[in-house]
């Protein structure tokens, strides 16, 4: 008998009963979502920046194919090796005010390493694409593999001292775009 059958044989038959759908009350921001988002992100070590600040990465960044033309013009020509780039610039699908997170789906034309390998990750999020709570963000997950990024990469493994950029980017910029 295979492992699957062995395990199935031991598991008890399902009990009847309603699936619990508890309504847990969470303190989530109600207004000024971008301001709330900015404060959360700041506390995590990330920053909300403007589009103009991307100029410093001209010819020194990797970016996804679905970036708006105006942004590509600022960035110049892309670096060929993602592990050598100074920054990775990607589109984010959603900002979450409650946690200061951005949602990145692995859509066609995007590369997951662009948001991971370079020391700085810049996420562009449309101003309209912000939700108040984590619940709202998760309800909008697509069937694509996705990641919620909540601040720069960090560790506290050495005596609990917080260090940024252990494996992923050391700085995270979120740029709201129209």
């Amino acid at each position: 008998m295979g492992d699957r059958e062995q395990i199935m044989k031991r598991l008890p038959d399902p009990k009847s009963g309603e699936r619990p759908t508890p309504a847990v009350r969470v303190r989530t921001p109600l207004e000024n979502l971008w301001q709330e988002f900015g404060e959360r992100l700041h506390a995590l070590g990330g920053r909300v920046r403007s589009l103009e600040s991307l100029g410093q990465f001209r010819d020194n960044a990797v970016f996804d194919e679905d970036l708006p033309e105006s942004v590509r013009e600022v960035l110049g020509s892309p670096v060929t090796d993602v592990w050598e780039a100074a920054a990775g610039v990607t589109l984010g699908d959603l900002a979450v005010a409650e946690t200061g997170s951005v949602l990145l789906a692995a859509l066609p034309g995007r590369s997951r390493l662009n948001s991971l390998a370079p020391p700085t990750h810049v996420v562009l999020v449309r101003q309209a694409d912000i939700v108040a709570s984590l619940d709202e963000a998760l309800a909008r997950l697509s069937r694509q593999t996705s990641v919620l990024v909540t601040g720069p990469s960090r560790t506290a493994d050495v005596e609990g001292v917080m260090v940024m950029g252990v494996h992923g980017p050391r700085s995270l910029w979120v740029v709201p775009i129209p």
Binding site: R10, A156, D157, E159
Partner: protein, 439 residues
Amino acid sequence: MSGRFDKFVRGLDEDAVRSVRASTLRVFNARSSTLGEVFEDVDDARRAAASVKAYVLDNLKALLLQFEENCARNGVTVHWAEDAASANATILGICARVAPGGATVVKAKSMATEEIHLNKHLTEAGHTPIETDLGEFVVQIDGDTPSHIVAPIIHKDRRQIARSFEREGLGPYTEEPEELTMQARAHLREKFKSAEVGVSGVNFAVASTGRIVIVENEGNNRLCTTAPRVHIALMGIEKLLPDESDLALFLRLLAGSATGQRLTVYTHFITGPRRAEGDGPEEVHLVLLDNGRSRVLNGPYRDILRCIRCGACLNACPVYRRSTGHAYRHVYPGPVGAVLAPALEGVKKLGALAKASSLCGECKEVCPVDIPIPDMLLRLRSEDERNRENKWKWFAFGAQNPMFWRAGVRLMRMPRAWREFRNPPKRQNDFRRWWRGRP
């Protein structure tokens, strides 16, 4: 076992104890303040999560079948593993196929892989496992074992880490956590680029969609599940959640309970191998591990399977704080380990762990899924007691037999020295006389 626990604690290095106490207290405090900010009523949230997990355990069979079907639809290859040997064999088989000459395997932090001792098996089969979580990396190069399920090197200070890095040639000796971390980053970057296989655990898996959810802070998990050609995830069969709508509650509770964060830095939602995107693994394998869990499910300790491995009970436990995780001599230390370890591997072998507790109840208070750990520890103690030789068994025998009891009481009345200072009750045997003469 209990003797060894005490002996271990007596021989502990004071520096290690101080380091563990400071770290556990810090996270313990961060936990309560964050959860208090996030939830209007934390206990309400804990009870809600407990009810969802109880439903999962009640319906595990049906949910696993539903999950398996959805994984297949997502293009994830599902493997079932009855025990550790079977899980290891499955993972070794995949590695051997992907890299016949021996694979470089980058590993993200996973307690399930610790449970099956995967690294040992990979090494013996000619593969090269590399732990990439900073703490687990230090554990690996030191030939040590993790002493906390969330913070594996909570028992080490920066000087020990600095010496290990210098010894391994990662860079010049430095006691700066920042520089130590950057040395590890540079070293492990090269491994990510060359690895053929990435191995991770799983935090939650959604039955209704087949979504695999993994949380982390460092980004190494994301590299392990993105850069290599093949991703293998190992998960205990109890990790399921029924639906997507359950995720937000559990993600908040896990991050808050484990480290006092509102949400972990990276929360991965994996729905299969690379499709139209530019990178990501070509194959995703999921190994569903039983290894004793279905047996526990049918026994008195089933509620321990609600556990989401946040480590809050370790940080809260006065015994863990003083004794460190290694005293428990098991992959799963602390209050949860004192129940889970004997439940999985037998009360005869590990039941004495339940004595390493003051029964203060703090572990239940902080548990995000409200597991009644103190009740289970008490039950384990009595089960363990029944298993060992009872020094009072002659007394128990005599006390349970009326004839022997009467004879014993008469004997006890005999010593004069005793009666000179005490008056034995005069109305002895009144009850028996009444019983005999009752109508």
